[in-house]
Point group: C2
Chain length 213, copies 2
DNA sequence: ATTTCGGAAAATTTCGAGATTCTCGTGGAA
DNA sequence: TTCCACGAGAATCTCGAAATTTTCCGAAAT
C-alpha cells in the first residue's frame, strides 16, 4: 500500500523533474484518484511540499506549481552561491579526511556519469541518475559545515532551483563546462583554498545569473 | 468568528513570544477546544507553522515546539548575518531615497521605544511593541534588496531565531548596547559604506554567537 | 465591444466519526 | 534489579460527506 511518505516523495520527484507544468494547479481531487486516498491526505502532502517551496498555497485558491521566472531563478542562484560557498568553506575547516573522502567519492560518481553523458546519443536514460548525482555532490560539499540549519535552508533553495530549471537542463549541452567546473571546485576544496573555493562555486552557478528581460 | 488565518497568526505570535514551553507538544485536541474548530483545521494550521520552522512535525508523533538549543541559535545567527548583511548591501545599491526614508522612520520608531524602555521600571507593557519594532527595523534593512526569495528566507530564519530567544530577551539588560548597534547600522547604511555595514550587522548579532557548551 | 450580473458547476475547506498507531504503567520473567 | 511483554488509554491519521467559496459561462445592460 502507498504510504503517506511515498506520495510525498513521488510528487516531490515529479515536481523537481518534469512531471508538472509551471503554473499548473494541483487539484486534490485528481491526485486523490491517482493515489487512492482521501482529499485530506493529499492536502496534507501538499502542505508539506509547500514547506520546500515546490508548490504554492493560497487561501481558498488551492495549490499550484510556481511559475517559471527568470528573476526567481536569479535570486535562488544568488542565495545558493551565498550558502554553498559558506558551507563549503566551513566543511574545509571542520570536515577532515572523512569529508574529503566522501567528496571525492561523490565527485567520481558524478564525473563518471557526465563523461558517459557527453558521448551518449540518447540522454534520457541518464537524466534521473544525473540529477541525483549532481544533487549528491553539492550536498556533500556542505555536508561537514556543522550547521543543520544551513543544510536545510540550502536543501530548500536547491529544490526550488532545480524546479525552475525543470525543462531547459534536459539537453545537456552544458555538460562539458560542468565537468570542468566540478573538477575545479573539488580541486580548490581539497587544496583547502577558501577564497578560490568560493570563487569556483560562484563561477559554476554564474550561467544561471542572467539579466532580467 | 475566528478565521483560519487568525488561528495561524495567534499561534505564530504565541510561539515567537512566550506562549509555549520549548519542547512542548502541540496537542491538536487541546487547541481544538480553545479555537472551537475541528482537529483537521488545527492540523492544517500546524503544518503551515512548520513551514516557518516554528513547530516540528514527525510522522505519527504529532507536532511539538522545537527544543531550545545553543547550537541552533548559533546557526540561525550565522545565517542571519549572512543574509541580512547581503540584503542590506543590496538595498544600499538599489533602495534609493525611498528606502532611506523608510529605514530612518523604522529606526526612529525603534530607538524611541528603546529609550523609553531603558528608563522604565516595568518592561512588560513594552515587550510586544519592541518585538514588532525590532522586527520591522531589520526587515526594512533588507526591504529594497529586490529579492523576494532572500526576504522570505530571512523571515523564516528570523522567526526561528526569535523563538529560540523567547525567554531570555525579556529582561532587556542588553538594551543600551542595542541602541548603539542600531544607530551604527543606520549610519553605515546611510553613508553607503558596504563593508562597514556588513561589519556592523555582524557586530550587532555577535552576542548570540556563543561557544557551544 | 465591454462590463455586470446571475447561477450552475467545480473546487476548496471543515467536520466528526472511526481506524490506526503510539504512550506509558503494570506485571511477570530472567 | 533490569528487561521485556502486554494492554488500556490517549493521541494521531484517514476518510467521505457536508458546508463554504471560487470559478466559469452565458445573458442582459451599458
Amino acid at each position: 500500500m502507498m504510504q503517506n511518505k511515498d506520495i510525498f516523495e513521488t510528487l516531490r520527484h515529479r515536481l523537481m523533474t518534469c512531471g508538472f507544468e509551471h503554473g499548473q494547479k494541483m487539484r486534490a481531487e485528481h491526485l486523490r484518484q491517482e493515489f487512492y486516498c482521501s482529499a485530506s491526505t493529499i492536502r496534507e502532502v501538499l502542505f508539506r511540499l509547500s514547506t520546500l517551496g515546490l508548490v504554492e498555497f493560497r487561501e481558498q485558491r488551492g495549490f499550484r506549481v510556481p511559475e517559471k521566472s527568470r528573476a526567481v531563478l536569479n535570486q535562488l542562484t544568488h542565495l545558493r552561491v551565498l550558502l554553498e560557498a559558506e558551507g563549503t568553506v566551513l566543511s574545509i575547516r571542520f570536515g577532515g579526511v572523512a569529508w574529503e573522502a566522501r567528496l571525492t567519492a561523490a565527485h567520481h560518481q558524478l564525473s563518471h556519469l557526465e563523461t558517459r553523458l557527453q558521448s551518449a546519443n540518447e540522454t534520457a536514460p541518464f537524466v534521473d541518475l544525473w540529477f541525483d548525482a549532481e544533487r549528491h555532490f553539492h550536498e556533500t560539499l556542505i555536508s561537514a559545515c556543522q550547521s543543520d540549519t544551513l543544510r536545510e535552508t540550502h536543501h530548500q533553495l536547491y529544490c526550488r532551483f532545480r524546479q525552475q530549471l525543470m525543462v531547459e537542463d534536459r539537453a545537456f549541452d552544458f555538460i562539458s563546462d560542468n565537468i570542468q567546473h566540478h573538477q575545479e571546485i573539488l580541486d580548490a576544496a581539497m587544496a583547502g583554498d577558501e577564497a578560490l573555493t568560493r570563487q569556483k562555486v560562484h563561477d559554476h552557478l554564474a550561467r544561471h545569473m542572467t539579466p532580467t528581460v
